[in-house]
């Protein structure tokens, strides 16, 4: 199994959820993160000064998948959230050794 950890623009989240629902059978876990990459942050004004805010709000989307579905899902994600602008985000893929469904103690692919 693989764990996909995708960093996407927050405003794309709703579309992404819908897209993954479409292709079916994909649970996910999301949380808010802040990212620092090529995309430049913005300036904030505070009374006597301007400050560079270097971290931008992003959304982390984690999806655990059987190996064979990885390509399909990566494709779908790219398609859904790409705008072609810097800051579109990244997908980090790593190996996932084991999954346990707490409710049933099932393990492995059945537990996804």
């Amino acid at each position: 199994m693989k764990m996909l950890r995708c960093i996407v623009q927050p405003y794309k989240m709703e579309d992404l959820r819908a897209a993954l629902e479409d292709i079916g059978g994909v649970g996910m876990t999301i949380y808010e993160v802040k990212g620092h990459g090529r995309q430049k942050g913005h300036k904030e004004v505070y009374r006597g000064a301007e400050y560079q805010v270097s971290f931008l709000p992003k959304m982390m989307v984690e999806v655990a998948l059987p190996d064979e579905r990885v390509d399909e899902v990566v494709e779908k994600i790219i398609q859904t959230v790409r705008t072609g602008q810097i800051g579109d985000g990244k997908i980090f893929i790593s190996d996932l050794e084991e999954v346990v469904r707490i409710r049933t103690s099932e393990r492995g692919i059945d537990a996804l």
Partner: protein
């Protein structure tokens, strides 16, 4: 008694000249009519402060309903109205609305810069309170009215355009309508249209403008497919609480005296707010299975709007009924605009436009304290209410439409897509509402 001294100047002065001249010229005030009554003055001073507080209350009410990234932008729509319209009112707004009448339609420039508006009472305006205080009381009404409209622009209007819009709108729409209804020379005043505290002047004018705005601005990206949920409902409810509180100044204060009329208006205000809050909440309970907090808060505001034109003219029981009507009708209007996919984002039209209209007509039905409505056999009053409401509606809609067309062509109404995603706080104000 302190003597008020103000220049013979004609028209407006450039700031630089103001700087030197403001304090250095003198002209006798209009002749005093009656002595100042300390009790009435005390009441109207406090009422004026209460009405001022409604605008920060509105800022919270609206600010809680938008997404985090737009909280400051939304609050600023109200806050900046306090700043801009307070100045406009002193410089020329009051003159246009309450200055000597021209043809029943508008005041004029003779009171510009508050010339002739001093510490002595004016027989036409209060009579027992300093004229200047009446001006201040009215200024708070002028301030909150354009801020109400901002509910239809939330999360997408350009700040610069917003500022120009409210300045022009107040001058071209609010000031004339105010003149028609409350200036003794105004044509609606003379027809004896009743508007105790601004059902047409404040709420209908802003609410129907909001509808025009919502249609011309277009929908927020994502609306209505994606849920755009309020980021801080406790703010919204606190805002509703401050509005309820301040509305006592708005309505009871409109008696301009600390007397029984003020007491009637006070009780009517509270009764209608309460019954409307219950009505909206119960309807949510029936139709959505949940008595929502936002429904209760929205209902309270709807009731306050609906009772505004009637406040000093009805009994407490009538006020309860007007509240029920206001709550139910406004809620229906909100349902309607949602079904029609109109993005009047914070429901300025549904609550203020429709609520103001409901109240204006209800005044023609229920008036029984000092005035008579249809239920006391006076059908003519209902007619007059209809005329006043209709005139307000048509005038506000037409002028606002033209104004928005012009602004759209010149400055643009909406922020661009990127700025909208980023939020108004950052894109328009360079700030974030919240951080660590």
């Amino acid at each position: 008694m302190t003597t008020f001294m103000l220049g013979k100047r004609k028209g407006l002065l450039a700031p630089a000249a103001l700087f030197l001249l403001a304090a250095s010229t003198a002209l006798a005030d209009e002749a005093p009519t009656a002595p100042i009554n300390a009790g009435d003055t005390a009441f109207v001073l406090c009422a004026t402060a209460l009405v001022l507080l409604m605008t920060p209350g509105l800022a919270l009410f609206y600010g809680g309903m938008v997404r985090r990234k737009n909280v400051l932008g939304t609050i600023m729509h109200s806050f900046v109205a306090m700043a801009i319209i307070s100045v406009q009112w002193v410089l020329w707004g009051y003159a246009l609305a309450f200055g000597p009448d021209h043809g029943g339609l508008i005041g004029g420039l003779s009171w510009v810069g508050l010339r002739h508006v001093g510490g002595n009472p004016s027989a036409a305006y209060g009579g027992t309170i300093p004229h200047l205080l009446f001006m201040a009381f009215q200024s708070m009404f002028a301030v909150i009215t354009p801020a109400l409209i901002s509910g239809a622009m939330a999360e997408r209007i350009k700040f610069k355009t917003y500022i120009v819009f409210i300045l022009l709108w107040t001058t071209l729409v609010y000031d004339p309508i105010c003149h028609w209804v409350w200036n003794p020379g105004g044509w609606l005043f003379k027809r004896h249209a009743l508007d105790f505290a601004g059902g047409t002047v404040v709420h209908m004018s802003s609410g129907f403008t909001a509808l025009v705005v919502a249609l011309m601005l277009g929908r927020r990206r994502g609306f209505p497919e994606e849920p755009i949920l309020p980021h801080n409902l406790p703010f919204t409810i606190l805002g509703a609480g401050l509005l309820w509180f301040g509305w006592f100044g708005f309505n009871a204060g409109s008696a301009l005296k600390a007397n029984d009329t003020a007491a009637f208006a006070f009780v009517a205000t509270n009764s209608a707010a309460a019954s409307a809050a219950l009505t909206w909440m119960i309807l949510d309970w029936v139709f959505y299975k949940r008595p929502t907090a936002l429904g209760a808060a929205s209902g309270a505001v709807a009731g306050l709007v609906a009772i505004t034109p009637a406040a000093g003219f009805v009994t407490p029981l009538s006020a309860l009924v007007i509240g029920i009507l206001g709550g139910a009708v406004c809620r229906q209007a909100v349902q309607w605009r949602t079904r029609r996919r109109i993005d009047d984002s914070l429901d300025a039209f549904g609550v203020h436009g429709v609520g103001g209209l409901t109240g204006a007509l209800a005044t023609g039905l229920f008036a029984s304290v000092g005035e008579k409505g249809l239920f006391l056999g006076n059908a003519k009053q209902l007619l007059e209410q209809g005329i006043a409401a209709g005139a307000t509606l048509v005038y506000a809609v037409v002028v606002s439409f033209i104004l928005l067309k012009v602004l759209d062509a010149t400055m643009g109404l909406r922020v661009d897509a990127r700025e909208e995603f980023e939020g108004l706080d950052l894109s328009q104000h360079g700030e974030a509402g919240y951080s660590e």
